[in-house]
Symmetry: C2
Subunit: 676 residues, 2 copies
């Protein structure tokens, strides 16, 4: 049997279901591809870290017992021991994609497992922002937005202490931004249209098993002959990020705080060191508090008059000096904040079953959760952004969090929080976007988020990679932001960046000068250059205290500025084609099998190859160049394809440009910015 639509073909035999010659399911009569189940999960949250244990009470392997065919659809009646339990409807749509809808007859089925045929040497990429692995094959990935964890590796002391003291260690799969979307090296994409808890298991040799705690609306497959086309098709569906406003290319966004006077003093330090500033990012614009974890923000969403008196006119003054002001917000309000009573009286917070406000522990203080399923709450918060952020003159902000929706909360619209938890980052992104849109300032104002989900692609102008530890660990330090950018890119998110120097200083991890400098070198080759003082500013290295590091920073911010026109080109490819700014090498060299295994190198656009030094005290970097002619940025030496060991003293991140790039002249000019 087969169904055709234009060039697309869905074929079904007793043994296989193939779509455009990709085998999706095999041995379907013997090896079921569809399992229905009923489970009862136990979910507890502690400060954004979740313990999730499932009790699968019932699980049925289903096999086709009958089928129906119409013009563009094929429906399999799926049965167990001859009795029907579900239908699997495959439909070839007008745009050539294949969608699979599973329907069950009984509402008790709240678990679904689908097995997709896999080849032993197949690679899989995406699933949102994954920080430990880029090729997802060989591992399974629970998809549930949460704190990413500290250390994120159970064999490290950092994670051991984070787990045993704070229940906060995380693991390879914990991420702020999971998404049930991936691209296979069999040249297809798969996207599940659902926000339920999922777990994608890419360990078995012969199949991928996709687990869902609920029945997805549909599972969408699209094929293409190249990854670039797959990314275009993926972002046609999920949205794309637009190029960042041009002011972001003017220089460094200094993460500073402490009030207007302190910020002015630090601005002059940056200026004296000739660090071009595009803006200052002052997360404490709304006040601070001190907790166990370190210095925290107050979480009342209006300017703090003590720290930043007459902020609106101060922002205008900074603006006249060419410095933008960026702030901070998140979708919670502290219980001791002045905005709390109004929001509570208006019924804008999610509630407990007993009708009282559900307070979430954020680590030393409790907050109400703005209930975005309540249109009035949504509008109130959106207007608060317009009034207290946009009207005051902020050019951007960190839109933090979004991962903490508890699963036992009662929502205004009566929906199941277990099914809304993963969607929350999209609602939060939309609230920010709508505020900016209604103010008519999309081309000027940005916000950046760590939490993400399906739809983030079109809703959030810029990701940031969350709260790395201030160290060299692969799973949670400098290195981890590279696979984070690459996997987000393969999920259709083209623009991301990270806190230069990392954020989390705990359990003996203290940021060093070297770490900051290596991170800054790398950030010059990303879409956005922003630093963070970290959670414990006083005990960690700060660039503004160190003349040599300031000098190094100045040179790399200059590189960043010089790259503006190239970056504009790269970001337009993201906006138009869905090609991420930071790209896996195989997006341009698909036939080179080695490029599939690289997780600590990337292309910025097509023409720059960056291999950051991610280990302490390393001054050479072994790296791979795909077959092409590559020019080493600092020495001008030319290299062909293959493995190379490249000298990379502190201050000289290994970067190469393609000899045949139309930007060769621009690239040639970068050297003097760093070396002269």
């Amino acid at each position: 049997m087969e169904i055709r639509h234009k060039t697309h073909i869905l074929k079904i035999t007793d043994q296989k279901i193939t779509y455009d010659d990709r085998c999706l399911m095999s041995g379907i009569d013997q090896t079921p591809f569809c399992y229905l189940g009923h489970g009862d999960a136990d979910i507890t949250m502690y400060r954004g870290n979740f313990d999730i244990v499932d009790d699968v009470i019932e699980r049925l392997p289903l096999t086709p017992i009958d089928h129906e065919m119409h013009e563009t659809t094929l429906t399999l009646i799926m049965g167990y021991q001859g009795a029907p339990y579900a239908t699997c409807m495959f439909e070839l749509s007008q745009n050539g994609d294949l969608s699979l809808r599973v329907e069950t007859t009984d509402a008790r089925w709240n678990r679904l497992w689908l097995r997709l045929d896999a080849e032993p040497d197949e690679h899989v990429f995406g699933c949102g922002e994954q920080l430990s692995y880029f090729d997802l094959r060989g591992h399974h990935f629970p998809l549930w937005t949460s704190e990413p964890g500290v250390g994120r590796n159970k064999t490290t002391l950092t994670t051991f202490y984070a787990d045993s003291r704070d229940h906060a260690g995380g693991d390879w799969w914990t991420t702020n931004y999971p998404e049930p979307t991936f691209i296979s090296s069999k040249r297809y994409l798969c996207h599940a249209d659902t926000f339920v808890y999922a777990d994608f298991d890419f360990r078995p040799k012969g199949y991928h098993e996709l687990q869902f705690w609920g029945i997805p609306k549909r599972i969408i497959f699209r094929t293409a002959t190249s990854y670039q086309e797959l990314l275009r098709k993926l972002t046609d569906m999920l949205g794309r990020q637009q190029p960042l406003p041009s002011w972001t290319s003017e220089g460094f966004i200094a993460g500073v705080q402490g009030g207007s006077e302190r910020v002015d003093e630090l601005i002059s330090r940056f200026r004296r060191a000739q660090v071009p500033l595009a803006g200052v990012w002052c997360q404490d614009w709304e006040g601070v508090r001190i907790t166990d974890f370190g210095k925290r923000l107050f979480w009342n969403w209006s300017a703090n008059d003590q720290l930043y008196p007459e902020l609106k006119s101060k922002i205008a003054a900074w603006r006249r000096e060419g410095i933008r002001f960026l702030g901070y917000i998140n979708p919670y309000i502290a219980a001791d904040a002045s905005q709390f009573p109004q929001a509570e009286q208006s019924g804008f917070f999610a509630r407990r079953k007993d009708g009282t406000t559900y307070l979430v522990d954020f680590g030393g203080f409790d907050c109400g959760v703005i209930d975005f399923t309540n249109p009035a709450a949504y509008d109130w918060f959106k207007n608060l952004i317009k009034t207290n952020l946009i009207d005051v003159g902020l050019s951007g902000w960190m839109a933090d969090f979004g991962e903490y929706l508890p699963t036992d909360v009662v929502l205004f619209d009566g929906s199941n929080p277990l099914e809304r938890h993963n969607e929350w980052p999209a609602l939060w992104a939309r609230c920010n976007r709508d505020a900016i849109h209604e103010a008519g300032r999309e081309r000027e104002i940005i916000f950046f988020m760590r939490a993400g989900t399906s739809g983030t692609q079109g809703l959030c102008p810029l990701l940031w990679a969350g709260d790395q530890s201030v160290n060299w660990s692969l799973d949670d330090g400098l290195a981890s932001v590279i696979p984070a950018a690459l996997s987000a890119g393969m999920t259709g998110c083209g623009l991301t960046h990270s806190d230069i120097g990392g954020y989390t200083s705990r359990y003996g991890n203290i940021r060093t000068r070297e770490l900051f400098m290596r991170w800054a070198e790398m950030a010059a080759f990303t879409p956005f250059m922003r630093s963070h003082e970290g959670n414990r500013p006083d005990t960690n290295f700060q660039v503004y205290d160190d003349p040599d590091a300031l000098n190094h920073l100045a040179r790399y911010v200059h590189v960043f500025r010089l790259l503006a026109s190239y970056r504009t080109h790269v970001m337009s490819e993201a906006a138009e084609l869905g090609l991420p700014a930071q790209r896996a090498l195989f997006l341009h060299y698909e036939d080179d099998e080695i490029t599939y295994s690289l997780k600590y190198e990337y292309l910025l656009g097509q023409d720059l190859l960056i291999a950051p030094v991610y280990e302490q005290a390393q001054t050479t970097r072994r790296l791979y160049l795909p077959e092409d002619t590559w020019v080493h940025l600092w020495s001008g030496a030319r290299y062909g394809g293959g493995w190379h060991s490249i000298e990379a003293p502190l201050g000289q991140i290994p970067v190469f440009f393609r000899a045949s790039s139309p930007f060769v002249e621009l690239f040639d000019g970068l050297k003097s910015a760093v070396l002269d």
Copy 2:
């Protein structure tokens, strides 16, 4: 419906199955008590530590769709969606016990879950030797014999290092001796007649869920009005340990090594310090090797002539001085041992699928696994014990290991190693027992094992609690051997002991003088007093190097000797009634709810109450006395029931005797042994 046999009644309604008024299953039409499944487990072993991950492909909740009744049996036809899948046959037997047999129609069903009705405040005890919990309620317990792990608590640094460096950290449930047998405070016992992997989950409030990776031959329930009667009934079924030979009461068994000369030197040190010796335990009688872990034994089962020349006559000489000689053996042979080629050529080792000998890594050296399913191999090894141990004059030995049967081994009799793994300790115990029995020496020769399973009760004369860390940790140090003894006791094993001072010195744990002394004080109130030099003798405290500790040991060995007649009485209760020597308090005070929560106190027999000091630098111990008149052993002060804080300086373990005991005079005499 009901079935009666003598005073026993099985009642079945739509809602419940009750046996002697204990509700076993409730709501059976709505809440299934029986689930059938098909799973595919992934099991890997590294040096006796197992990674076990199950993939449950199919799971059906079954409900009764029909029934058949005969004189003593009631058979429920269990179905899913109206179709039959299994029968559950309940039978009241001649001796009044209830057995449940599950039969399935299809061999693919290799998972069974049974839910037993539970009350919220119910307690559960047993499941073999459990070292972290005594009351098992609130936790689940995978039942799979393995290394117990180092630290056994994921929140400790010891376990962190053991896991990350050696894959050997363990957890609360890892034990050498698991058993699918428990006693409920609803006054029934449950024993599953099977050796398959099991996991008993006592977490849910309303039920216990018993998971089996295979269909047990039967599940046996017995009721009684008291725990003492339950233990008698349990040990009627599974066997009982006989009183230890009287020579074991003559004094201390010194764990020493290094060859005859060194042993002689150490014997004189003990003698000079007036430590009464019953024997020396020389684990290195068969040679040594040095590995990463420390000093290890050679694993060739004959006397090592270099270390112990002419051992047989030397043993006879020691015996004339009143000192017995004990050795060591395990059911493996090192690949570089002289006995290996003969065993291999004779086909006595378990094999790989390709027919070659399966070598197991024991930590720095590889061994063949004696295949006890091969009668010729069994006999050969048994005869080796007779010839090389018994005939040489050994009075006992540690029969170590038994937990390492890999699940991918090919056995002589073609049986499934997954179903034999948990049985292996019984085969190993039987081999030792048969050797001793055939030599006609049961009343004189003992062996002690750490590995156990159903049947250990009647096969193994004495347990020891395995390889504790040489520290104060609750899960793996001194404290842990108390719940180990209590839970083994509730599984029908009445005689156990532990390495005085612990064994495992790794990851910075070094045995201190204080630890050894506290452990020795406690050991005087157990059935057997034996020390171990540990895995790294040279860097850990050894009692024979310390005059004060030797003096302390001498006093407590004297106590142990003085207790001989009381211990004989206690051991005869174990042999005749199945009452363990070390007893949970509620065995004699069932109405006192507090006694159910005590895991670091015990009774030795009915009349001595021991509350060991298990924390470092503690000189008082808070302890509970059940309602009775108790006399403090050292001060003579009398106490009633309730919580008390008792002075317990080093050297004065809190011990009380019952004022109404027939052994009062004996107990009164203990004081002078310690204090004078």
